[in-house]
């Protein structure tokens, strides 16, 4: 369903993603894990046509993303890591806008909007402007919107960041239902290891722009001899808090962003 070969992204002389290859089977839930600044978001941006790779190939549902971005966009949905709502519109209008862009027939659209707003517990706030929402409410709305059109592939970039366990639980069970009932392939990143352990069938760990290991959560634990995925993750990516290194990369990325070379 997702096939990536030799994917590389360089920002001047900084290599954010370094020649990675992986594939995700149809119907899988695939966890893409890594410390901050490892290259997760850059990878997702390339997979979702927002950023052109420096080198490499990407296929989503057998569509070449680099050469055929318009067609590729029909195959996926995404929940972004950072906000992407229109603050001047209401919750309902944000959902409706998305539904129309994705060409969901009106009846199904309205039905799903109701259902999803109920899941993220925003049904009584549907007519409120998003600018009046708290951070958590915006996050929930964002997820509800991303799930609206039931794509073939769903990208979730740290979807549950900053949400309470109840909401996370709700959202993950909805995602897992979608995966089972509609066969939607899910590609997600997260910092919550227990979430990855529970949801993912397959996990790839990326660090410094390279994939350092791939396997099921069980295999990763077995390989490292750790009892939890969190410990396995720490063993694989280093025990040290790589303050220095991480912040250097982050800083670099930050200046790139400020200069506009995202």
């Amino acid at each position: 369903m997702i096939k990536v070969e030799g994917l590389t992204k360089k920002f001047h002389n900084f290599t954010a993603v370094d020649n990675i290859s992986f594939s995700v089977e149809d119907g899988d839930i695939f966890g893409f894990l890594g410390p901050n600044g490892a290259g997760k978001t850059t990878t997702i941006k390339m997979l979702t046509t927002l950023l052109n790779p420096t080198a490499g190939k990407i296929f989503l549902n057998n569509v070449d993303v680099v050469h055929n971005p318009n067609e590729a966009r029909h195959n996926f949905g995404i929940v972004f890591q950072d906000p992407s709502l229109d603050d001047e519109l209401t919750a309902f209008e944000n959902m409706e806008f998305h539904g129309v862009l994705y060409d969901i027939p009106k009846k199904i659209r309205r039905q799903r909007i109701d259902q999803l707003l109920a899941i993220v517990e925003l049904e009584d706030r549907r007519k409120d402007y998003v600018k009046n929402f708290s951070g958590g409410m915006k996050r929930r709305l964002e997820i509800a919107r991303g799930l609206l059109h039931h794509p073939k592939i769903l990208f979730l970039d740290e979807p549950t960041l900053g949400l309470d366990p109840q909401t996370r639980n709700h959202i993950w069970s909805y995602i897992q239902d979608l995966n089972k009932e509609e066969g939607i392939t899910v590609f997600f990143t997260t910092h919550y290891m227990e979430e990855a352990d529970r949801a993912a069938k397959e996990i790839a760990i990326i660090d410094h722009g390279k994939i350092i290991t791939q396997g099921s959560p069980g295999q990763l634990k077995e390989k490292t001899g750790e009892a939890s995925l969190e410990d396995a993750f720490i063993q694989l990516t280093g025990y040290n808090i790589r303050d220095q290194e991480v912040s250097a990369v982050d800083r670099m990325r930050q200046t790139r962003i400020m200069r506009g070379h995202r």
Binding site: K45, T48, T49, L50, L51, N52, N70, R73, H74, F76, I78, F80, D82, P83, S84, L85, D86, D87, E88, L89, E93, E96, F97, H98, V100, L101, Y102, D103, R145, G260, R262
Partner: protein, 247 residues
Amino acid sequence: MKTIYILWLRQIKRYFRSKARIVGSIGQPLLFLVALGFGFGSMFSKAGEGNYLDFLSPGIIAMSILFTALFTGIEIIWDRQFGFLKETLVAPVSRLNIMIGRTLGGATVAFLQGLIVLAVTIPLGFRPNILMIPVSFVFMLLIAFFFTALGTAIASFLKDMQGFQLIMNFLIMPIFFLSGALFPVADLPEFLKAVLTINPLAYGVDGLRGALAGLSYFGIGVDLFVLGMITLIILAIGTYLFSKIQI
């Protein structure tokens, strides 16, 4: 079609919801009309040029459309900063349709703004030629489309609002002040005339003034042709640049 409509609708909703913006954008044209219109009015008529308010009003209408249109085009920068641009860019909608929807929305808003200013000029004493109002609408729309598309094109390579002031001072202000919106073109020094002939707004102002006040320097036909052509060109450039946006 539906996608173009929803993109258009979003712009319209945003416009009507920001009352401060509507009120604020009437303030400036009103100030120009009152201060310049009445301030220079007697001088203008003593020089034998006729009623200054009739001369000035089309220029101020054009000005308000210029500012609003450019602003709605440049709104893409905000959408980029607040993240909403990503939402539209990953949707299975061609960049061309996104551009069309946005430009239609922005141009509609700018046109409405022009209508509001037109309505404001009348109690101040402007007497437009009623029969030619439909023709003036054509020019108002063309100005609106041109500058919305120009704003989009600019916003496609500006990453944040820091460059905006630069554009304001070195592009928009010259475009406005050197368009003949405030003064007659006929007696200008040759170099200024030359500048005017390459200024898109000059044709918009001239056409609008030709339609509403019966005063035209280039001739309405020329205005329509030139403005129509460059609008098509800038739409094509804007669409191209927009399609190349990366986040």
